[in-house]
Amino acid sequence: MPILRKSTAGTMQSSDLMVVVEPAPTLQIEIESTVKKQFEHLIRSRIEATLQDLGVTSGHVRVSDRGALDYAIAARVETAVHRASQE
């Protein structure tokens, strides 16, 4: 799925995350999280797997996480990508 425009999904509420997706020549993922030290690798691999499932090969993905569970991460990323792939 192509990232055609900037989009967001999610909130800054506790146990949620906010995702900002925008077009970029390569795939870049930036993660801010209250639990970054312990869980950044898990958050990152969940985001990467979700993007791969959606066929996203390029784009700038910024995540501000407040301790979301992995299915919430997948859902928010998927929503942001769907919004970003519509003209």
């Binding site: 909130t11 800054m12 906010m18 900002v20 930036e30 999280s33 209250t34 501000s64 996480d65 407040r66």
Partner: protein, 331 residues
């Protein structure tokens, strides 16, 4: 439920919590409980302010919802990174929302959310060494600036010349940056950089642009200097900051005084040099702007380097002279 509060409702809530209300923002977010405003916050440009939550809603996730609103509002306005002023004792509440502390001083803390300072450093790789810095507005770049830069460049391995990025001055940022680059091109160890929002910006030091002198201005000045000493100086190996003494502008003079007071305690030495003089009077950007507004190029030639003079004679500079002559002239 969320709705846009009226300024009066917001002011009442903000002042009831002992915070200062400042009118003139771009966006308000308000959270209502049974028709009563329970929480609010505002955004002005890339700065979030006046976040206020009634006591019975503190500790709930009202703040998370409020911040979500304001971040979305900021993103929609094109601001990836947002600044926030708060009290130091509430800074940790915002750290839990992925804000990072940039600086604290006394009663104020400055935080940011987004790619921010890390992205700025990644875009401006620093040289190791015993380096120095000048932060200047260069509105426009004068012989005084040039002499200061030449003197400073001789004292250090590399001199970082930070040009204030904020477009609050009569000469636009791109022109101020170009003038600083052209005037110092002959100095091989000078690097001209934008300050982005990390020195003397509307985010760190809004009062600078208003030429205000009160408690708030003093607090902002110290916050700005704390950010310089705590973040910029270590990142660019800056051991000394240089400035020209300021005989004319009271705001800049107060900033110089605060600099000499604050920075040495944080490991950054301060050198304040006597102002370069021409024709028996100190050269300052204020004087240059006066001569430029009057179209007195003969006087200008004694006050600015040839590269600045060339810019002032260009078509690009003509509308600026017009603005300087208008009654609402920019500083």
């Amino acid at each position: 439920m969320f709705d846009q509060p009226t300024e009066r409702e917001a002011q009442e809530l903000i002042e009831s919590l002992g915070l200062r209300f400042e009118p003139g923002v771009d966006d308000w977010a308000g959270f209502y409980d049974n028709g009563r405003l329970a929480a609010c916050g505002a955004r002005k440009g890339y700065v979030l302010k006046m976040l206020a939550i009634a006591p019975e809603f503190q500790g709930t996730d009202t703040l998370g919802a409020l911040v979500t609103r304001l971040i979305l509002s900021g993103l929609a306005a094109g601001h990836e990174t947002l600044f926030l002023f708060t009290r130091p004792q509430t800074a940790s509440t915002f750290e839990a929302l992925n804000f990072r502390i940039l600086a604290t001083h006394g009663t104020a803390a400055l935080l940011e959310h987004g790619p921010g300072f890390e992205a700025y450093l990644a875009a401006h790789p620093a040289a190791p060494g015993r380096n120095g810095a000048i932060v200047l507005n260069g509105n426009p770049f004068t012989l005084g600036h040039l002499h200061l830069a030449e003197h400073a460049a001789r004292q250090v391995d590399r001199l970082y010349l930070f040009v204030v990025s904020e477009d609050c001055s009569v000469f636009p940022f791109a022109a101020r940056l170009a003038m600083a680059r052209a005037a110092t091109a002959h100095l091989p160890n000078v690097t001209v950089l934008e300050t982005s929002r990390y020195a003397v910006s509307a985010g760190t030091f809004p009062a600078y642009f208003l030429k205000r002198r009160d408690e708030a201005a003093l607090a902002q000045m110290r916050l700005d200097l704390d950010l310089f000493a705590g973040r910029i100086a270590p990142a660019f190996s800056i051991l000394r900051r240089f400035a020209g003494d300021e005989p004319l502008c009271p705001a800049t003079r107060a900033y110089n005084e605060a600099m000499a007071e604050v920075l040495p305690g944080d490991g950054v030495a301060v050198s304040i040099l006597p102002r370069f003089e021409a024709g028996g009077a100190p050269v300052s950007a204020t004087r240059v702007r006066e001569a430029f507004a009057a179209g007195d190029f003969q006087r200008l030639a004694a006050l600015v380097p040839p590269s600045t003079l060339q810019f002032l004679r260009s078509d690009e500079a003509r509308p600026i002279a017009g603005r300087l002559r208008s009654p609402l002239k920019g500083a």
